[in-house]
C-alpha cells in the first residue's frame, strides 16, 4: 500500500498474461509470459506483485483474502491486502494467479535431506554426542532441496539423525540460496535429542532405563557448565556495571573493591548448550510411543525446563495429551512444550481396536497447537502437505492441518517473527497452489524464498 500516488490500481489490465485455470490457457499463455519474464528480469523489477484468487495468510488473525495482492520488495513482504486496496507500484513484476491460492512458504521442523542425502547425520561415537553441530553439513541447492521447493517448502530445520540419544545441534536453513551462508537462517537451530526408538542399537542394545539415565547425566553436565558461565557473566556484569560508583565508594571507605570473578574453563563440548539453558535454542526431541513421550515431557520439559519440541510424537503418543495439556497449563513460560506429529498419521490402537488418526488423537486430547512433520527424506520433503492431508483423512480438520505446516511449526522453533505467515515485514517466503494445499489433487505452482522465485511450475514446467 506504499507508493500509492505513483502506482496504478491492480484492477487495471497490464501487458502481463492473465493465467486462467484451464490448462490449455495456462500453457498457451505461458509461452508469452516466459518471453516477457526474460525482458523483465533483464531490467530487474523493483519488486514482485502477487495477485491470487485466495490468500490464506496463516497469521494469528486467520486472515483469508479473496482476490488478494501481496507485494514483495527485496526479501520482505511489503504489502498485503485486497486487490482493490493495494496499489501496485510502477515497474513491479505482476504475477497473476486468478484461480489459485497463495500461502506462506511451508515450514518443516524435522528434516535431514538438506544435507543432500543420508550421510553426515549420525556420528555413532558415543551414546550421547554433545559438541557436535550440523552447521557444516547443509548442501545448498542439492537435488533433495530442489524437490522440497516443488512442494512449497521454504524453511527446514536440518537435524542430525537419531542414532544416538543426543546427536548434536541442528541448523535452520531455507531451501533457496546458493551458499551455506545464504541459506542459514539460525544456527544452532536446535539441540537434537532422541529419547528412544533408534539409539537402542548402540552398544549392541540398550533399554530405556539406561538411555534415560545416561541422557539425564549428559544434560546435567551441560547444565552445570552453563551455570558456571552464567554465574561468571553475572558477576562480571555486576562489577563492570557499578564500577565507577564502587571505586569512588571504595576510596572513600578505604576498602578494596571485590576481586574479579574467576573465569570458568571453556569447553567446546558443552559451550553450545548455553543457548539451550537460556531459552534461546529449543530441544527438538525424537520421541514416539506413550512411555517415551511421557519421559520427554517429564525429563526434558519438566525436570530440565528446556524449550521442548517433540518430533514424531507418533504411534500411541497422543494418549499423553492430558499430561501435556496439564503441563502447558501449569504455565512454565521458560519451557514451552510443542508437539509435532509425523510422519505417518495413523496408529492401530489395540485398546479400542480401531485405526486412530494421530493428529486427531492429539487434538481431541486438548492439544490444539499441533504441527506436522515429514522426517524427510523418510517421507519426501515435498510431501509435507500430504502428511497434513493424511491427518485429515484420519479425522483431523483442514485448517488446523494447514496451520500445522506453517504458523505452528514456525512458532515451535521460534521463527514465527520471520516466517510461517504472510504478513507485512516478514521474510518473503511464499507458495502458490492450484487449490487447497491439503487437497491431494492440488499442486504447488510456484515457490518464493527470500523474495526470489526458486520454483516456477507455471510454464508447463511443473515437476510433480
Amino acid at each position: 500500500m506504499r507508493n500509492r500516488p505513483r502506482g496504478h490500481k491492480a484492477t487495471e489490465p497490464r501487458g502481463d498474461v492473465y493465467y486462467a485455470g484451464f490448462c490449455a490457457l495456462v500453457f498457451a499463455g505461458g509461452l508469452f509470459a516466459h518471453a516477457a519474464d526474460i525482458t523483465d528480469q533483464s531490467s530487474s523489477p523493483p519488486g514482485l506483485a502477487f495477485r491470487a484468487a485466495k490468500l490464506v495468510a496463516m497469521d494469528d488473525a486467520n486472515t483469508v483474502i479473496n482476490d488478494a495482492v501481496v507485494l514483495v520488495k527485496g526479501n520482505r513482504i511489503e504489502a498485503v491486502g485486497r486487490a482493490g486496496d493495494v496499489v501496485i507500484p510502477d515497474g513491479y513484476r505482476v504475477l497473476h494467479f486468478a484461480e489459485h491460492w497463495l500461502l506462506p512458504g511451508i515450514v518443516e521442523a524435522h528434516n535431514h535431506s538438506a544435507a543432500g542425502g543420508w550421510g553426515d547425520l549420525n556420528d555413532m561415537v558415543y551414546q550421547t554426542n554433545p559438541g557436535l553441530d550440523i552447521r557444516p553439513v547443509p548442501r545448498p541447492d542439492n537435488p533433495w532441496v530442489k524437490r522440497a521447493r516443488t512442494g512449497g517448502v521454504t524453511t527446514v530445520l536440518l537435524l542430525p539423525g537419531s542414532g544416538t540419544n543426543l546427536a548434536g545441534f541442528g541448523t535452520i536453513v531455507s531451501t533457496g540460496g546458493k551458499t551455506p551462508d545464504e541459506i542459514t537462517m539460525r544456527t544452532p537451530g536446535s539441540l537434537k535429542i532422541a529419547q528412544a526408538g533408534n539409539p537402542e542399537w548402540y552398544f549392541g542394545g540398550n533399554g530405556r532405563s539406561f538411555m534415560n539415565w545416561n541422557l539425564r547425566q549428559t544434560i546435567e553436565k551441560a547444565r552445570a557448565y552453563c551455570q558456571r558461565w552464567e554465574e561468571y557473566d553475572q558477576a562480571t556484569k555486576r562489577q563492570s556495571g557499578g564500577a565507577t560508583e564502587n571505586v569512588a565508594a571504595g576510596h572513600q571507605a578505604g576498602r578494596e573493591s571485590e576481586p574479579p570473578p574467576a573465569q570458568p574453563e571453556f569447553d567446546p563440548i558443552w559451550d553450545g548448550f548455553r543457548g539451550v539453558f537460556t531459552g534461546a535454542v529449543p530441544a527438538t526431541v525424537h520421541t514416539q510411543v506413550y512411555q517415551v513421550l511421557l519421559m520427554t515431557v517429564e525429563m526434558i520439559a519438566d525436570q530440565f525446563g528446556l524449550w521442548t519440541v517433540t518430533e514424531h510424537s507418533s504411534f500411541d503418543a497422543w494418549k499423553v495429551g492430558p499430561v501435556v495439556r496439564e503441563f502447558q497449563q501449569r504455565g512454565a513460560p521458560h519451557a514451552p512444550l510443542w508437539i509435532i506429529q509425523g510422519p505417518r498419521q495413523y496408529h492401530f490402537d489395540r485398546t479400542s481396536r480401531r485405526m486412530i488418526g494421530n493428529a486427531n488423537g492429539w487434538w481431541k486430547n486438548g492439544i490444539h497447537e499441533l504441527a506436522i512433520n515429514t522426517d524427510a527424506p523418510v517421507v519426501p520433503q515435498e510431501e509435507l502437505t500430504y502428511q497434513s492431508a493424511m491427518a485429515c483423512w484420519y479425522g483431523w480438520l483442514p485448517y488446523p492441518a494447514l496451520r500445522a505446516i506453517t504458523n505452528i511449526t514456525a512458532k515451535s522453533i521460534g521463527l514465527y517473527d520471520r516466517v510461517g505467515s504472510v504478513e507485512v515485514g516478514k521474510q518473503a517466503d511464499l507458495s502458490v497452489w492450484t487449490g487447497d494445499p491439503i487437497d491431494p489433487r492440488s499442486a504447488c505452482l510456484m515457490t518464493v524464498v527470500n523474495g526470489e522465485i526458486v520454483y516456477d511450475g507455471t510454464q508447463g514446467t511443473r515437476r510433480f
Binding site: 532405563s209 510411543v289 481396536r353
Partner: protein, 470 residues
Amino acid sequence: MHGKPRYSAFVPAWLRGFVVTWLCGFVTAGAVAQPPAVPPERVALTGARIIPVVGAPIASGTVLVERGKIAAVGPEVEIPYDARVFDVSGKFVMPGMIDVHTARGLDIPNESRPVTPHLDVADALDPSQLFFEDCLRLGITAVHVIPANNTVIGGLGRVVRPIGLTVGEMTIAEGEFLKIAITPRRGFDRMLQMATLRETFLELDDYLARVAEKRYEDKLKEEDKQIDVGPDEARKRGRDLVRAEDVDDQHRNLLRLCGGQVRVAGGPGPKLFQPLGAFVYCGNAMDIALAVRLAKDHAFFDRTVLVLGGECHKAVAELKQAARPVVLPGDLTYRATDPLTGEVHETFVPKKIFDAGLLFALVPGPDDSYAERMLNYQAAQCVRYGVPRDEALRAITLNPAKMLGLDGRLGSIEPGKDAHLVVFSGDPLDFSSVVEQVFIDGIPAYDRAKDVRLQRLLSPGTSDSTAKPE
C-alpha cells in the same frame, strides 16, 4: 521426580489416577471400566463374604472405604449416608493380589550392560502396556516391577498399581530393592558372574577410599595447607568428610545396598543413605550358598529376598538356615529326569518350602497360560498339593507385601490399609470363579461387565467386524 504429584492443584492425591483415566476417556473407552465423572469419597461393599487374610473370614459383612483407605470391616458396619454402595451379596471379597517379581511393563527385561545398579525401572516403565490392564482383569492390584534375571546387578525396582497415566501416578512405593543374579547371565559362566560381582563391590570400596582421600585434600586446600600424610592416613582422616553429594549415581545404590554407611580403611564413616535390599536370583540349588555368602559379606543379608529356580528345593536345608523370604518359581512343579533311565521325578516346590517354615510368595506361571497367570490359580494348586488354604492365600497377598516392606499398607483387609479389594464371583480358589470388580485405593478400577475386550474374547461366533464398538 517420579514421585512428584501431578494434578495436585485441583485433585486430591488419592483420586489422581481416577481423574486421568477419566480425562483419557476418549482413548480408553471400552478398555476397562469407564469410571463415573465424580469419584466417590466413600465406598461400601455390602453383603460380602470377606476373606481378610488376617483374621477369620466373615460370612456376610461390609467393607467401608474412606478416601482410599479401609475404614471398617465386619458383619455390622454403619454405612455413611454419602457412601457409594456396591451390593456384592454372596460374592467373595479378598485383598488385591500382589505380583512380587516381574519385569513386565518394561520395554526390555534387562539392559545389555551387566552391572547397572544406578538404573531405575521408572525410566522404562510403560503405563500404557496391556500387561497392566491384564493385571486388573486378574485381580492383581500391586506389581513389583524389577529388572529380570539376565544380569549381574540390575537396577532398582518399583511397586506400582496398574492404573494411572504416568509412572508417578502408578507408584505405590519407590524402589527398595536391586536385582542381583547369582545364576550367570547369558554369555557368562559362574566364574565370570561371581568375579564381576566381586569386582563391583571391591571397586565400590576403592571408589569410596578415593572420595575420602579427595575430601581430605580439599579440606587441606581450603585451609591452605600442604598434604601432610600418606594416602592411607588421608583416607582415614577423610572418611568422615564424605557427603551424600560426593557419591555418584553409579555407586550410590551399591552403597545403599551395603547399608548406606561409608566404610573406608576398615573404619566407619557417616551414614549417608537409607539402605536398599536385593532380590537375589538363584536359578540352581548351588546358588543359594553363594547368595547367602555375598549378602552377608556386604551387609545386605537382612534385606535379601531370594528368587528361586525350581531346582532350589534341593537346597532346602540351607534355605531353612538362611530363613530369608523366598519367591517361588512360576512353574510350581519341578521335574528332574534321570539321565540314565529317563525316569521323571516330580517335586511340588511350594509344599516343600512351606514344610520348611519359610515365608514364600507365588508368582504367575512362566508362560502366558491363561490359568497360570492367575495368582489365585497358583494358590489353588498349592492347596491341592497340601499347603493349607490360609497359607496359600497369604502367599499371594500378605507374604509378598511383607517381602516388600509394605505389609502396613497392603496384603489384607484391615482398617487403615490401602483399599485394594477384589470381588470374586465365588471362592477365589475355585477355578470357576472370576474377578468381577477391582478397587484400588477405593477407586472402582475394573468392572467385568464393562470389560469390552474380555467380552470380545469370550463371545462366541462374533468376528471383529461385527462386534459392536463400545
